[in-house]
Symmetry: C5
Subunit: 356 residues, 5 copies
């Protein structure tokens, strides 16, 4: 497989507030989508120049600026300054190794979530992509590394005014975007769970591959990875729900509570799967021991039966001049008979021990 | 056994508040029972048309509307709108993968519990069925997938005015329905506990089947499943008991505290059984090792006794021309004697080592 | 041993507040002791008719009514009604599977504790018996299944006015009864601890019986059983101590704090013993592995020495016509010498490996 | 080693407040030291009669009465009554199985700590001795079983007015005594840690004695014992520091916080050592398995090489009349050659498998 | 490797507040750097005489006094007295076995952190060096054992007025110094993580060295060491952030929250690596068992095939006079054929068992 470890970029020694992109997608094109909507109309624009978005700030409509391409730190800094965002927030937006968190500032909320998906091109590993939200009074800024199609459905709803999105504020927009992300968590954990249950069925059916311990270790790691993302996300939503805040209206709070319930369930599922993976290791260890037992029994049975018989044959293969039995006419058959008796006795003994 | 995994329905991408049934019982008939009762009289009606229940809302009696058939989302939506229930609640009612929870709204409580039973037709697996309650000022709506006979006793009590149910409010009705559910938890955990204790006795008596680790894994999984349902249920009751609320009267609170005590006990029992199952795995592993030890001892004894004897026989089976012992008249008997001495010595050695 | 599992009585479906005895001692005689005492005098009566106790309620002395025989639900119900006890409390009193708990009502406290003792007639199992207390302003009701001699000392103190019991209120009486129960916990845990330490010494001295894992499992279970009783008892006392309450006077609180300290210590001891039992299992598993190692070494040494020698003997037992060595006069002795060298070499090799 | 278990004295059934010595040192002489000091002068007296200490109560100096000999319950009771100490405190003082705790009374604090030391005469076991403190407004009473030299340095400081002890109150005196005790904890844990690290180095270097599991179990027990004393001590200091209290002045609080920091560190060290001991057991188990593997390899190699060769020799040792190979002149050498080829082939095979 | 254990200096029995250096670097030169800066100018001086720093106290600029050489206790005491620092703080500054902590005094904060680095000259062990900070209103004192180059970048920023350091107070200076330390934690944990993941890949690829358990134990210990430093550091920052305090301004608090986020992430990473190391041990144990299984299979196959064949050869090697088969012309070939049949049968049997 080789080691294709993603070497983290070293930020040590930089001035705090230095806005440095820490990801790998250096060549991503900057791509900016703007939705500026009210209940009765909406504007959609696709831009590649950050200054073109500035005009939307002064509208009384809800403005959603969706920035793809965290490598364009200059543009992000300009946008941030225009919206008066703290430099530390800008630093965090482009530092893709953030954990899910929420920071409350006077005029806006900064929320980091992680999109989780299974990378089929890389051993079905669980991969995460950071999504940053800045929620202001009537605007929402979102930042991520690459074009994400997971928000397409939300865009459609704004365009067609499906659901209540056009009638509500930026807080509700943030909610449906987060809800979309959490729905993906649910799917991912379902897929993980199915994999674990299939594997468990295999083990229960006795089909234990030699590299089962690798599979178990891999499953454990995937579950741990998902856990690292989902558990702090729960805390993020919990803080939104608990600390009442002018930016999140009372109407929207009910919806955030709904996401919270989903996340609690996902967290519980993850912990159940985690415990199941641990049990699988126990199961696997006991199956190895059982196999060893079986191997040892075969050896013991074969050796215990034939070693004594071979000894008897050895005795009558000795070349002493005076061995009276050798002369008896039926001695050979008698000895063969004795051997047969020993053989049958041994087999019965092992049968009684339930080794056969 | 095959994989008959219940593939969850994918809800990703739906508009929040979309009311979509996520269960398997698509063809369930809609069946609605209505009890409208006061201390001195009661009305019982079985309906299949949701509009027929609307008239009961305006009565000053306590109204219990028991809806069987979560697949009939339209009817549920109509009823919900009639009672002014939040769309997210309606969404949760028909989404059968909810965990036990309580959501407090201004005029009503939404409570999800899970009925637990052992499905004898499916390997004695622990199966759960979601039961939704909406408790209003003088009404209680309950929703579940199929006809449940567990509420029959409650219905009888309303009919015959047994106990105090007819004298108290909808909060007490909710209590006795929950109490019935929790009583089933108690039974289920007792059955699980008996199974575990029987199995433990078997292992202690040395009757260890080859597939014991499968049984242990299965028991563990059943205990975990029950735990996932019962523990959040405890939290639900705790929140009812703690957060005083207009909908639950002071009189009824004492009764909810009683359910809470039961649930605490069930939770403790579950954790004890969980620990016992873990101990069983240890026990089982040590029994495998002990068996292996026994097998190895048999092999070692047989090999250690007969291999040296066979060697001696081999020596006197050599064909050298000049082997003076071969000529001695009693050499054969002397060698046999030496062999007997070695044999007895070996046996005594193993006896002293307590291997025999 | 057979399965003499105590099948729990099924209470499912009963009306809440149904007073049903759930124990086994159906034929227990009803036996009521009454102590009605003040600092300067006391009355003691042994009754079998519950109505005879009613007269004591109106006295201004402290009244202790000690009821033996939970199977007499009618009498308990009458007494409960006379003292105006909530039906749920009466239900709990006769339901012997309660866990230790405290319920606070307006005019009285309901406390459940469990007496713990070792049943020598049943494999030294740890057995518990439920003791119910109802503490009112100047009365204490206690209920249990059978005559308990553990309270004899307390009765003596009332009779002889030893200590301060006659000078203080019902809260102090409850304290000394609880203190007696907790003293028994201390003893029981000491006995368990001694058993575990003896067993540990045995294992450390190498005396490991084949059924050691059973003993360990049994010890673990006993510790768990004690834990299930003692830990919630600690919470009960803690709640008495914390939530100041009119029924427990300030003077008595100091004493309850003392019980609490004892219980904390018992809890810690239990957790230490629990950890020691877990270590014993590790210890036992390592001893099994060590034994197996020893067995394997014996086998390996015997086989490694004699199999090559037998091979050499086999070579010179071949019947080829032209085998020049066979004719040499000293060939036999040379071969024997070579065999001796191999033998000694092997022994030295195993000595160096520390296998001998 | 024999069982020299210290049988606890049974206090069950005694009247609460009974002052009964529960230790072993029944014949300890009563020995009382009194220090009565102010900034500018001090009195030191060694007494054996408790009444002689009464006169110091009325002085306006700080009085420290250090009582050696808990078996003299009468003297302790007299002193207690003179200082108006609650009987439960007196009971606890002479009951040496207390855990570290603090009880706050109106006019005094009762503190129990445990001195920890390693008993070199008893297998280097960790032994504890109870030290009781009663801190009043301007007095400190201390009680312990035997003469402790650990307080000598403190006495010297009072005598020589070294440090600030003479300038501060009884709260500071209690602090330096506790500080001395905690310093001994630090030492003890360092010694335990060194032992564990030495043992770990041994195991890492491959020097694993057969009784390593005993050593590990012993180390684990010592760590657990220290833990049982040190952890509740931390809580004691924490409560002193947190709950502001008239008896502990603001100046002294800074010093108690310092002890608290030390104790937190000791607790952490203990938990690290505990985890290291657990790892040692894993390490040891894996080393046993590795050894077994090595034993098995030797056996397998010897048997796999020589058993086939012996079979070939056996074939040509058969006595059939017509076995043409036997007549060929070079057959013997050819067979020997074939055997050599098999031998070398086997060795190469095991080399490739890395078993040799 | 030998035991080069760092013997802790024993401080037992010293007067509290005794300022005693507990480290090893006794011969370190005293080296003092002073930065006295405002937005528009700064002074930098390198001194070796502590009194030379006193003049900076009265300036209205921000003063940073960086003291290298904890062995110079006199100088530190003088500086401490000049700034009116509590003796216990001075004691802690030179006692290098402090854990990370924060102590709040009226006019200053005392903070202990630990620098973590990997000592490549000592088996890549994780080594820590204590760094003490005393933060006053407009000064910051820092103390450590030896010259640390990790602060060079900070010094440069003061000199060149890069970033906002010159515009803000001493609280911000403390922040950037701490941030530098925490950045080193991040690097260290990344290096540890890479080592663990490389090792895991090796094990997954089957390259398991014999001393893998040593490596695992070592990794575990390193992770534990890092954990002991990083976790209390998180609490330190948390307390700075939570307890609002005059010394840390509102502006700086946002920055401390940023460090806190970093530390939370480092803590999570450490716990993930800790769990991964535990899994590695399981993995390793299962790989040992698998290897043993393989060894046993080879032995069992060889022995099971050739022992019966050798027995047959033995039978026809017996010297009975009357053994009719010996005379048959083709008997030899028939027996060889039977042997071949047995051989093939055995091979097929083991193939079916998947042992071959």
């Amino acid at each position: 497989m080789g080691k294709k470890k993603h070497k983290r970029k070293n930020k040590t020694g930089l001035i705090p507030g230095s806005i440095v992109y820490t990801g790998q997608k250096e060549s991503q094109q900057l791509f900016i989508e703007v939705f500026d909507y009210k209940a009765d109309n909406y504007i959609e624009e696709n831009l590649s120049n950050i200054e073109d978005t500035f005009k939307f700030k002064s509208t009384d409509a809800i403005t959603w600026i969706n920035v793809n391409g965290l490598n364009h730190v200059d543009a992000i800094e300009k946008l941030g300054n225009h919206y008066d965002i703290h430099p530390l927030v800008l630093e965090d937006i482009v530092n893709i190794s953030q954990r899910p968190k929420i920071d409350e500032y006077e005029n806006y909320l900064y929320v980091v979530l992680k999109m989780l998906y299974i990378d089929t091109s890389n051993n079905d590993a669980v991969v995460s992509e950071q999504i940053n939200f800045v929620l202001g009074d009537n605007y929402l800024l979102s930042f991520h590394e690459s074009d994400l199609d997971i928000f397409d459905m939300v865009k459609d709803r704004i365009r067609t005014s499906k659901g209540r999105v056009r009638d509500m504020g930026a807080d509700y927009l943030l909610y449906i975007l987060m809800d979309t992300i959490v729905d993906h968590y649910v799917n991912l954990v379902d897929v993980l769970g199915d994999t674990i249950e299939d594997f468990e069925s295999d083990i229960l059916a006795g089909n234990i591959a030699n590299d089962a311990s690798k599979t178990i270790l891999n499953l454990k790691r995937e579950v741990l990875r998902a856990r690292r993302i989902v558990f702090p996300s729960r805390e993020v939503i919990n803080r939104i729900e608990k600390n009442e805040n002018n930016l999140i209206g009372k109407n929207a709070l009910t919806f955030y509570r709904d996401i919270y319930d989903h996340l609690v369930q996902v967290c519980e599922d993850i912990d159940v799967y985690r415990e199941m993976v641990s049990s699988l290791m126990d199961m696997y260890m006991s199956s190895i021991s059982n196999k060893m037992n079986e191997v040892m029994k075969v050896l013991t049975i074969m050796a215990s039966i034939f070693i004594p018989l071979t000894f008897i044959a050895g005795v009558y293969g000795m070349n002493f001049e005076y061995m009276p039995e050798l002369k008896y006419h039926n001695a050979y058959y008698i000895v063969l008979g004795i051997m047969a008796v020993i053989l049958i006795g041994m087999i019965l003994y092992f049968k009684r021990k339930k080794w056969l």
